[in-house]
Symmetry: C2
Subunit: 167 residues, 2 copies
């Protein structure tokens, strides 16, 4: 029987971080898109949805891009594992990982920041109209997106170290 | 007479990008901190300052951190040049550059995103009260911060490529 590996392989660490990123983004998008509050004042009815907040629209775009990229990366990794050429990946893939992780981590960071910024500054006004629940869900969704960003930022550090040397 | 170098040295490119970052952040902070609008309605007077917007407070913190880091990096580079050991910098410095550029670029990106998000979503309300000028200056300041982020993101790519290999 072969002895267990002394530490987790880098490829497995990366895979776990990608799955974590996907999980955080999935929960974030579910909370975001189901975030609706209704205020009844006599005969009138006021409804607020995530689409009414520009920053939440950008946030949605950021999450969708992040999820698509993560699915692509997991598929590429599984393809490598199935083909058993795990240790012979070309330099092109490492460069793609580097720029991909970098750009996607910026997109996720700005999505979370825009959502936090807008939620924080609209909070007094929204609370005035009794939309506290809408605000809470906005924070929850942005927090999960932030956790997804943290995973991608760690992946970006790892893919920077894996970068092939020029010259 | 020595022939001119065929292309700009990497150290000079980095120095130019740092000076550009500093210039963008400096103009951004000046526009941000002088952004005040007053609305006179009969006897009443309403004043809005950048401090009244939470996202602008975070933006200010991001710019200050970015400027401090950039000054430190320029000082370190000039110190290297003066000591004429430009080509013998240790690995520790390269690792500091890598993590520094990475973290600062995230801070600048989130500062700009929070400001854009909040400005965009408060725009209708602020315009209603005649604070259009306040909104315009908010956008101008956030745009300059974004340009500062772009410079730092390029620096982060450069410092990733310069990263020493971990065996």
């Amino acid at each position: 029987m072969a002895p267990p590996p002394p530490s987790m392989s880098p490829r497995m660490t990366v895979l776990i971080l990608r799955v974590l990123t996907f999980a955080f983004l999935l929960i974030s998008i579910v909370i975001l898109t189901t975030n609706t509050s209704t205020l009844e004042a006599g005969d009138a009815e006021f409804k607020i949805r995530f689409k009414d907040v520009y920053s939440y629209q950008y946030m949605l775009a950021a999450i969708v891009i992040g999820m698509a990229y993560t699915i692509l990366q997991v598929a590429l990794t599984l393809n490598h594992i199935v083909k058993r050429n795990a240790e012979t990946s070309g330099d092109g893939n490492l460069v793609f990982d580097f720029y991909g992780d970098k750009v996607i981590s910026y997109i996720l960071a700005t999505g979370a920041a825009a959502a936090f910024g807008a939620t924080n500054d609209m909070k007094p006004l929204l609370a005035l109209f009794g939309f506290d629940n809408f605000v809470s869900k906005g924070y929850a969704s942005a927090s999960l997106l932030f956790l997804g960003f943290v995973c991608t930022a760690i992946l970006s550090v790892l893919s920077s170290y894996a970068l092939p040397k020029k010259v």
